[in-house]
């Protein structure tokens, strides 16, 4: 590249060279998680190696009862037997935060992929969502996946990606979906439109495992618990959809919502699992067409899946003000309050350290879980007139959290971070960082200090006001301690930051 054209010169000169803020990467946590992942994989892969033929045979046997490896739907009529009954109400149960590692082939991903390709492929092509050649691919064989898993120590879905299966349509992957802000999880296999150039996702198909949801329609996402699969309220436009429910003779329940420019559908199966799909046809002027009848036919062509529910258990949630439905207009509406709040906070910081350089500063809705709800925050980064021992200017992030979608203090012993703002106490992390919680003038103060050999230290300090807001500062230094810049001083600073500007009445909950 000796001679660069105009665009290449712009690219080369436009490379960002802003200094990196302190790293939030926690190497000890990395290693701790790495050990756990490796142990689980070894156990699973070891089992698979010992009974490799049996593992593949099991998959093939399953495919005989569901879908064949050739991706063709079975000739026999589908059946929808009820599952084993639970000893509890699955609607109020959920899964733990640690997602299973797929140390051997996962027949569910393949079954959903091949069934969806068959059921929805032509429908999507006819609607103009993608061309027919987008369906011209083969799902990687189990033998190939197992070979890559063994060779590179990968789990099944990483192996599929390594085999190049990551850009195809109907590529289902297992997901944990936040419940109550991450206090527990729903589990689903989700396939998204894989057209990365599309400005808006054309479709999302989700196979829900039993647990944590209700067949009653209502706002979807982590807004309520049990969660709703499909909404009968206005979502895509200002008008409520034409909503219909039909109970079939085989025990399935089909629900459809025609929003005009978008279609949504859900099937609840007798074994307590469910399938949902949503299709953005013309809400952004894409001009696609799909009939509700054809979508219903495709939904009903999908098989009932026997998911692993061994980790589903009843849960008791802590009381938490709900997070906010994602609203793109909120940051702009809150901008003046955010600026006033952050200016006041920066003034306090400058009172301690002198004039800072402020980068940005705005109201930001922090997406949580699947992204349908947010925590409302005001955030700014500042560079202090102070260098660390590596002669790098010290940066600090200040973030105010308005009420809703989080819990104060540190997570309880043995719980995951979930909806807590200071990342301490995840079970089995084995972290040796120092976390502490105290009460100061009626407020809760939670701190986390994490250092490598006293050379690189990061601090995370949260102050939780009894009126419902919180402020968290994050900062760090490299090359050794800086006099006057440690946990004690930073805690003093955090507790001195003023209350954010917002209307408490808007944030009151019953």
């Amino acid at each position: 590249m000796e001679h660069h054209d105009h665009t290449e010169r712009l690219l080369l000169q436009g490379r960002p060279d802003d200094p990196a803020p302190p790293s939030a990467v926690d190497i000890k946590r990395v290693m701790s998680r790495g050990y756990r992942a490796q142990a689980r994989r070894n156990a699973a892969i070891g089992g698979a190696s010992a009974a490799g033929i049996a593992a593949i045979a099991a998959v093939l046997a399953l495919s005989l009862t569901g879908l064949g490896d050739d991706g063709q739907a079975p000739d026999a009529a589908q059946t929808f037997p009820p599952g084993e009954p639970f000893d509890f109400d699955p609607a109020t149960a959920a899964y733990p935060s640690v997602h299973p590692v797929f140390g051997t082939v996962d027949p569910v991903g393949r079954e959903l992929n091949t069934a969806a390709k068959d059921a929805f492929g032509e429908l999507a092509v006819d609607a103009g969502i993608f061309d027919a050649d987008a369906l011209d691919y083969e799902f990687p064989s189990d033998e190939a996946a197992l070979e890559v898993m063994g060779e590179h120590d990968l789990d099944y879905y990483s192996a599929l990606s390594d085999l190049g299966f990551n850009q195809e349509q109907f590529n289902f992957a297992p997901r944990g979906l936040d419940a109550k802000g991450g206090q527990a999880y729903l589990r689903a296999y989700v396939a998204l439109d894989s057209d990365e150039e599309a400005e808006h996702l054309a479709y999302r198909i989700s196979g829900y495992q039993p647990g944590g949801w209700t067949a009653e329609p209502g706002p979807t996402g982590d807004v309520a618990f049990p969660q709703h699969l499909i909404s009968d309220e206005a979502v895509w436009t200002d008008e409520a959809p034409e909503f219909a429910t039909e109970t079939l003779g085989d025990g399935r329940v089909l629900m459809t919502a025609d929003h005009g420019c978008a279609l949504e559908a859900a099937v609840v199966y007798p074994n307590g699992s469910a399938l949902t799909s949503r299709w953005d046809l013309d809400c952004h002027g894409q001009g696609r067409e799909m009939s509700l009848e054809d979508l219903s036919t495709a939904m009903l062509a999908m098989p009932q899946i026997d998911y692993d529910t061994s980790e589903l258990a009843p849960v008791e949630f802590l009381d938490m003000p709900p997070a906010w439905p994602a609203d793109e207009s909120w940051p702009q509406a809150a901008d003046a309050d955010a600026q006033a709040s952050l200016d006041a906070a920066v003034a306090v910081i400058e009172g301690v350290y002198g004039e800072t350089e402020q980068h940005g500063g705005s109201a930001v809705g922090l997406h949580t879980g699947s992204g349908e709800v947010v925590q409302r925050t005001y955030t700014a980064d500042v560079t202090l007139p102070l260098n660390d021992s590596l002669d790098i200017p010290i940066s600090m992030n200040v973030r105010y959290y308005l009420p809703g979608g989080w819990l104060p203090g540190l997570p309880p012993e043995g719980a995951g971070t979930g909806p807590y703002l200071i990342d301490c106490g995840a079970p089995g992390d084995g972290k040796d960082d120092q976390c502490a919680q105290s009460e100061l003038d009626g407020r809760t103060v939670a701190t986390r200090t994490w250092c490598i050999d006293d050379e690189h230290c990061s601090w995370f300090i949260g102050v939780f006001d009894e009126s419902g807001w919180a402020v968290v500062i994050e900062t760090g230094v490299g090359g050794g301690m800086v006099e006057g810049y440690g946990l004690e001083e930073l805690t003093e600073l955090a507790t001195a930051l003023p209350a954010p500007v917002y209307d408490p009445a808007e944030y009151e909950t019953d």
Partner: protein, 170 residues
């Protein structure tokens, strides 16, 4: 057979030597330091789980490949895509209040318009200064795919950046 201590020492040495580079690469890809840290943390976890199988000399390239894959996985998540879909420049994207900040914002905005794999290709070729073959290795694809992705992405960037002046001294 390495002891646990040896393995951890070796990995921490690798981390100290390469983390900054990996973070910056992840930042080039995501345009956001918080996302970059998230990507690197996940990538390092995967790398450590496979550390005993990684050839010492090949670790940096392998780590870059994992970062690439984690970034592509992130882009497939709906919330990331939703952020990308907005017309507004995300806050705190490029934090250098320097003379050429306007150009950097323009270039960053143009890169945001590319598909994920196109962006990876451009970042690796022009910002990480990798050869076609090295880029192919980092992306797990053929050199021919790198060339076609580069050509397609540059075509888009030429349209998006048309009329943008090159600052003096470039």
């Amino acid at each position: 057979m390495q002891s646990k201590e040896q393995r951890e020492d070796e990995f921490q040495s690798f981390d100290l030597a390469h983390r900054d580079r990996l973070r910056r690469y992840a930042y080039y890809l995501s345009g956001d330091w918080h996302q970059a840290d998230d990507i690197v943390q996940k990538a390092l976890t995967k790398l450590f789980a496979a550390w005993h199988r990684v050839e010492p000399g090949g670790a940096p390239a392998y780590a870059r490949r994992i970062v690439t894959n984690v970034y592509l996985s992130h882009r497939r998540l709906a919330w990331v895509r939703r952020e990308r879909a907005t017309d507004d420049m995300p806050v705190q994207r490029i934090e250098a209040p320097q003379a050429e900040v306007e150009l950097r914002l323009t270039v960053a905005g143009a890169l945001d318009q590319l598909a994920a794999r196109e962006r990876v290709t451009i970042v690796l070729r022009y910002w990480e200064q990798l050869s076609v073959e090295e880029t192919a290795a980092a992306m797990g694809c053929s050199p021919g795919t790198v060339k076609s992705q580069t050509s397609r992405a540059m075509g888009k960037l030429r349209r998006l950046l048309a009329g943008t002046p090159v600052p003096a001294g470039a």
